[in-house]
């Protein structure tokens, strides 16, 4: 079964990836710092305050979240993850994107070869529907198709 959501492409791009979902604010520094410091290209969420994502792999996944929170290093962290090839395949926001996540996605797009498609304004229904492991297809116009694996 597929469900389609329409958002706004902040950084346009097309990608298909399995979802990982954070229902609460995503603390970028707390989530990435442990893996980046260990120079891991497969970043595992290290934020103990995020029960949805703690200890789950974020790299190569369609990261579904309301928005990011926390330190203003957030954009640099995303930029670093992108440059290392450890970033999520896409960042999909149910709410309007925040300034730190936007900075990270834009820095990755302009200053690294590894752009991270970012779509915001996907709505609360998106975050209610998408579950870890579902296949998420992101189109450059901000269309996000979520498949649950069932016919």
């Amino acid at each position: 079964m597929k469900k389609i959501f329409q958002g706004r492409p902040v950084v346009p791009g097309a990608v298909t990836a399995p979802a990982v979902v954070s229902h609460g604010g995503f603390n970028t520094l707390a989530s990435f710092q442990k893996s980046l410091l260990a120079k891991k290209t497969e970043a595992v969420c290290g934020d103990q305050n995020n029960p949805d994502l703690y200890n789950k792999v974020m790299s190569g996944k369609a990261l579904c979240l309301p928005k990011t929170i926390g330190s203003t290093t957030g954009g640099l962290v995303i930029h670093t993850a992108a440059a290392m090839g450890a970033a999520p395949a896409a960042m999909l926001f149910s709410e309007p994107i925040d300034s730190l996540a936007a900075a990270g996605a834009i820095l990755a797009a302009v200053w690294t070869p590894n752009s991270i498609p970012a779509v915001d304004n996907l709505g609360k229904e998106f975050l209610d529907y998408v579950k870890d492991g579902m296949t998420v297809e992101v189109a450059a116009d901000g269309t996000v198709t979520v498949s649950d694996g069932n016919a």
Binding site: L37, T72, G75, L76, A83, D98, G104, W111
Partner: protein, 436 residues
């Protein structure tokens, strides 16, 4: 770049000069800087660029070896001959072997982790760093001197500094990320949106403080941040505890409350009825018509405090280190802690702290504090002073496993450090067990 304007046509209005820069009149790197800031502005509906009025402040003070992308980008900027238009300040240094306890293994890891610290500081100097004392998260302290005036537009990052500049000083700055801070300082302009606009500074939340006593700043800020996330709160009910004067004591309270709200959530600006400059000037007109209400009473603060996870391997472990000062302490707070520690030691019948205790402040603040009568008294308690960033210290994998306690909700949020209130911290470092 592949096309004349970097493959990007901004929606926001550009002046002819800005359009020329985007087209490459000042080189490819300046074009990329302008493109980045324009994309950033377009994302948030900016109408135009506006000039900044004060020096910049950068969050990125640490030369962590893994951040090669950062060093490469800094080199790209330096090689292009660009630099900040005014001398800027930057967050605290990550290392202080002289004053912060560190065993051999930890030191080895620190030396590897921050092996790029010296070359990175050279990069900062080339980009326009103010001076070698410019490393602090509280650049707005009088002793440091990067203190904006009401209405000044800024290109700052560091969440605790941004929320302080906006809320307590009435400056105008968005919660910029690393690199957006230096890009704005180089261009001398930032995109005009959200917290640089009158409408963006209006409150979407009314916080009704109905506690029986003055709330612990760090827990109140945490509760607010967790609830409102990045929205602007208008806080009522605090002046009965704080008064209506922005003095050194209330500024320190606002600093710590704001830092907790910015790290536990993403608050970039708050108003306190009857206290902060825009609330005093504009009152209820700052509150949006559709504002939500959040009531904070004693039970709510207790609920929030109890929600903090303890991630020590042994929750009953005896603390080995205590950090006080994240964000960095003011000179007034250093004096207060001197008295608080003296009283706690006296109550415990001991002369020295029983847990290694480090109080952190800006280098310029520490220099000023050393000239006060409280300085030798603080040293006599056994506590130490440092300019370090406790968060950077705790990033060391060899430090993560240590049972560290702190009065900082920000440090708690980002590390394994365990939060206690000021009074609980004082009692514990004096050797008294308090409630877990």
């Amino acid at each position: 770049m592949d096309t004349k304007n970097g493959g990007y046509t901004p929606a926001m209005a550009l002046t002819p000069e800005e359009q020329d820069i985007l087209n490459g009149s000042q080189g490819e790197v300046m074009a990329k800087i302008l493109k980045t800031l324009a994309m950033y502005g377009d994302t948030f509906g900016a109408d135009k660029f506006i000039p900044i009025e004060g020096p910049g402040h950068l969050v990125t003070s640490f030369g962590i070896s893994v951040m090669s992308a950062t060093f490469d980008l800094m080199d790209e900027l330096i090689n292009a001959g660009v630099k900040a238009q005014q001398p800027f300040t930057v967050d605290p240094r990550p290392l202080d072997y002289d004053n912060v306890p560190c065993n051999l293994l930890q030191k080895i890891v620190f030396n590897v982790m921050y092996s790029k610290q010296a070359p990175y500081e050279e990069q900062l100097k080339k980009m326009g760093l103010k001076d070698s004392n410019a490393f602090t998260c509280t650049c707005y302290m009088d002793e440091v001197g990067n203190t904006p005036k009401k209405g000044d537009v800024l290109s700052w990052s560091e969440s605790s500094a941004v929320v302080y500049a906006n809320s307590v000083l009435g400056a105008r700055c968005n919660r910029n990320s690393a690199f957006m801070d230096i890009f704005g300082a180089i261009l001398g302009k930032v995109p005009n949106f959200d917290l640089t606009t009158d409408e963006g500074r209006r409150a979407k939340w009314v916080i009704e403080v109905k506690t029986s006593k003055k709330p612990e700043a760090q827990v109140l800020g945490s509760a607010i941040g967790l609830k409102v996330m990045e929205d602007v709160p208008y806080i009522r009910g605090l002046t009965k505890f704080l008064g209506t004067e922005l003095n050194s004591e209330t500024k320190a309270y606002c600093k710590d409350m704001g830092a907790a709200s910015a790290s536990n959530g993403a608050v970039g600006l708050y108003h306190i009825e009857g206290l902060t400059p825009e609330a005093v000037e504009l009152g209820d007109s700052l509150i949006r018509e559709d504002a939500q209400v959040y009531v904070i009473d004693d039970a709510e603060l207790e609920r929030v405090k109890k929600s903090y996870p303890v991630i020590w391997k042994n929750p009953d472990a005896k603390p080995k280190l205590c950090f006080i000062g994240c964000p960095h302490l003011s000179i007034g707070q250093l004096k207060e802690w001197t008295v608080r520690l003296e009283n706690a030691l006296k109550a415990s019948g001991v002369s020295k702290v029983k847990i290694k205790t480090v109080l952190t402040a800006a280098p310029d603040v520490l220099e000023a504090f050393k000239k006060t009568p409280e300085y030798p008294r603080l040293l006599a308690t056994g506590a130490r002073l440092s300019y370090i960033c406790p968060l950077m210290y705790m990033n060391n994998p060899m430090c993560k496993g240590m049972p560290v306690i702190t009065n900082s909700n920000k440090l708690r949020t980002y590390t394994s450090a365990r939060y206690y209130t000021d009074d609980e911290i004082a009692a514990r470092v004096a050797g008294k067990e308090t409630a877990k």
